[in-house]
Assembly symmetry: D3
Homo-oligomer: 244 residues x 6
């Protein structure tokens, strides 16, 4: 089974960012990974949750949702009282991933709210969300630069990007799109920093199993993908990139 | 108090439509009314709610939401069990407005799902939603033209558009933006067909009152606005416009 | 299609009020509009919602419900987590209507709670609720007269009444009862003050449409109805009527 | 501590029933026990819950609520997701009590819906609800007499009434009103049939304790009260009383 | 119909307690009444609900649940928004029963949390819960003895135990197990103190009826059972038993 | 920072299983991993969810909960409408892990319900749940052996076990207990089959990061732990072990 559009197993889909897509949030990035499209906003709220009040620290929290028209079969909105376990998992992952590169002690008593809303889903929405959320977070933190007591790179200590890898028809592939993801034997999401450290690895045999050797190959593939995504983040941020 | 950007009291903001903004839904329109931005999708589901099964009729339902980053102060998502009365009102209005121009008896046993999600809110989100939803509905119904037993204009019998009018500082104004809406003494939403019939009029003194004479002037102003919006809908749909 | 009981198109149904129907709430009015029966209570709570604390202002809020036995087919109670969109719309309308004649700045830091519970529904429950709620509010505000810093007419600045009008079989009619409402082509609710100002107009083609001329005729009819209802409110309140 | 209005320890408050208080439900009874006022309706639905479909049996279910204005301090409505344990207990008690005198096997595949809504609460709302619900049930079952395959007394096999008794200041008293109930050391509700059988006894020391001897005295007192209430039910039903 | 295992009508099932079954809660008792198995824990929280703050009093609250695997047919967990009326009734009963022997005025500003979770259900889970909860409460209160300002018996003023009795096939029986409970004509739960006072009696004809004479016989039977259970509680607590 | 009880970095805590801990569920296993104690039950329901009806396949689903007394600070029960994201994640993981070794096509139209309820939590509750759930599933599937159309090893195709590993104070450690987990820099859960295939790997820097080299070392450590746990599962199942 060849990849759609003859993509090579180690190639990313086309990746694009539109910064400032909407105006109310200081960070607002429309990220496209192939046809997967996510609006990532980052708002800054000048207060923290109750459990942090008075500790001089900040907080970062993330929420994830899919618009009803984002999937081929319309996705019903969450009804009151119904738990969408998958969304819960994903927003917890986004939050942990971003917090790994934010020094909350230096943020001051404010909260960064990351919202990732999927406008079109074609595989890899959670990894695109993390990748786009970082760009939105940079714009948001830069917008409050004058309020911080330290330079931005002491608040945002590294960049973060994410990518999916998987085994499809016995072949290790980078950045699965929906038709591949649906048929994958293994699905692994990798979140890493721009400096090459791992934040999170989540690999699942999707009710099947895989070998240690496959695991190692998938992580190799993902690491290469992360390097390319990091470069794209740096390019789109240009002078706003906080690191040397 | 002059209008922002020296707009004349009877002028609309710039109005734009992007058809096919996303791909999964057959109707997908990004509508912009000034800075107010709404993604309107229309999905076609090949079944009807239980109360209509076996009656040979179709159904149309609408949902409305605001993304958290769409407002200057982040808008929390609906929590389980919490009722957002304003959203409920708006989605009921959108549904009634569209059903007024859809002949459900001729649609067949299928449901049109209208979703209006506000990406940026700057006043008039409910009227922009109705205006954009009609364009999305045209694209969706055209996409199932081959499945219908009658021509499209017997299913979509007229066009529908909506606009807000209000009294600000004693002056009747068309198409209020947020800073005006916030200070308006009267706020009236008008929904009409392309052929000049009224579907819905909702005017409120917003906890104040207004005279019959003001009511009449506001409706005159709104009727003119609806004519301009209808022309814009026709222009963007081009050959897809279902009517003569 | 003639009206039930040969009622003339411009005639109201019999309208009656029982003040002091129950004792715990200072305002407690059983209002009957034909067979439509609503218990309207107005409680006074010596505090305000969080967003108003310390501002020296008062608040007024309204809730609306229908008892299960109030309709021909038993109406299930709201289940936890289920949103009854119609009730939400109605209680928001009741609240806005009453707040239009209450000067919250002069009420002091207290909340007026309006509760309208329908015991029997035969059309026009929302307008009967507003009409009865005003009478209950007068009794409640009079009961705290000694606690106010200004005379009652500076707190309750005008009376408020509401009525429905509609087009049935091509004829404009005042005060629709259920069998008419069910078949109406147009349904319009009008809320006005005793001094003849409009508070709210909500007209809907109920998934059909109507002309500007019909709209004007309906509002004429409703204005006359409001005058009669206002007279009835004044009569039942007698010496408790706060206005000259 | 003497009783309010010099009531004797073994005297009931004034008890009144208004049959046909509202029209949509075939059974609709406003019951007053002193100032405690409950609207009891009984609707007949021509179907049964899923677990009974096809078994040729009927069902009876009860719901209980208090209107917000029924208590001296306004009682908030149930919010979505919030459990009012007391209401749950009471409606289960009402349902069990009525089912004890209804032969569901002879009712046919239909459901009797009992709704007890408290308009004014002054102690004993649960027992007044049971007492009034029986009268409403008689009217409802009589209204479907022509649909039954057996005479009414084979469906309603006995009457049911309920009363509260308690120990206040060391004295056993019948039919406590609110100010007594609040201070009672023991509170016991007794549900019995017209023929003198016990359906339910629920006695609680309200976080205190009581002796076996007190228990026996309370039940004696309650039995006498039940006899008087049964006589009142028979009187108000007149020719509609189903029993010899 | 003889009893399972030829048990005599007045015999209890085998009753066992394992104190310290788990370690985090200071009171943790696995109680077994025949095969009915309940884990009762008692935690001490150093604060009280809002309505008691600053009053120098303590609080006790109880919760009850059944594990899904505790019944022959798997019992679904409570879903968000769904009310399990039976659990609500039971946990309110457990709370009232324990509060009857706890002097909250002497507890200090702390809350005793009683949790009764049924691991295996074979009839009598609510009475076993009360019986076990008392033992857990003793261990918990003893664990904070050094923080109390009075001796333990002024906080825990008496012991509490509970038992079910019922009429099965015309015979009064003590401590019904599930197969008896299912077929019982009358089911009565009795909660009493070690000193022989009644805390609560709840008898129900389970949609049938019973005579005053049967009621008296059942209470006699229950009183004897309570004495035996109290002795077992005393035995397992040994030196921890707070009373003379 | 040495390990509690001088445990070596590569040593498991004491692991014990009590099969048949309760009787209603055909699989009921109390698993203890050190002081972490989980009751794992497996029920067999003779039907499948709607989406599988008529497909001749079976289903397996898992739920996870913590009893309130299982933690040092009492854990409140899930309230209606509140989502516990962590529990949702864990029960999804348990379900996926078990489904990886169950051939649903051969199970017949029945559902295996896995319930894992934590009685005492001391780190590693999710991995202990998976390990215990497998033993319960074996007992449950063996109990319906006579209803299956294939031998048990064609339904349960492999064993499954899970373990946590982590980096604490720079040292890679196996099977973290709570005090270690709390301070871990990296936390990784590994789920594998008895035959050495990986089902799931979830590693998180817990808002920090780790290197590829650390990842590899942790997986090595985990694989050794899984082998030991598999041996313990085999030992406790004895003749019930389905594999050669």
């Amino acid at each position: 089974m060849p990849r759609p559009n003859d993509r090579s197993p180690s190639a990313l889909r086309e990746l694009g960012f539109t910064r400032g897509f909407t105006r109310p949030a200081p960070g607002s990035v429309l990220v496209k990974m192939g046809r997967t499209t996510v609006l990532c906003t980052c708002c800054v709220e000048p207060k923290v949750p109750d459990f942090l009040v008075g500790k001089g620290k900040g907080w970062l929290t993330a929420e994830y949702g899919m618009l009803p028209g984002s999937t081929n079969t319309r996705k019903p909105r969450d009804k009151a009282g119904k738990v969408d376990g998958r969304s819960v998992e994903i927003q917890r992952l986004i939050g942990r991933s971003l917090r790994a590169v934010v020094n909350l002690d230096k943020l001051g008593e404010r909260t960064l709210w990351i919202d990732c809303d999927v406008l079109e889903a074609d595989g890899g929405t959670r990894t695109a969300s993390i990748t786009g959320a970082f760009v939105a977070a940079v714009d948001a933190v830069n917008s409050i630069k004058h309020l911080l007591t330290v330079p931005v790179p002491e608040v945002l200590t590294d960049s973060v990007a994410a990518v999916s890898v998987g085994v499809v028809g016995g072949e290790e592939r980078l950045d699965l799109e929906y038709v591949e993801d649906r048929d994958a034997d293994v699905d692994l999401n990798l979140v890493m920093t721009g400096s090459g450290k791992i934040i999170e690895v989540q690999g699942s045999g999707e009710e099947a199993t895989f070998s240690r050797k496959q695991l190692d190959a998938l992580i190799d593939l993902g690491e290469a993908g992360i390097r390319a995504i990091t470069a794209a983040q740096k390019a789109v941020l240009g002078g706003a990139w906080p690191f040397a």
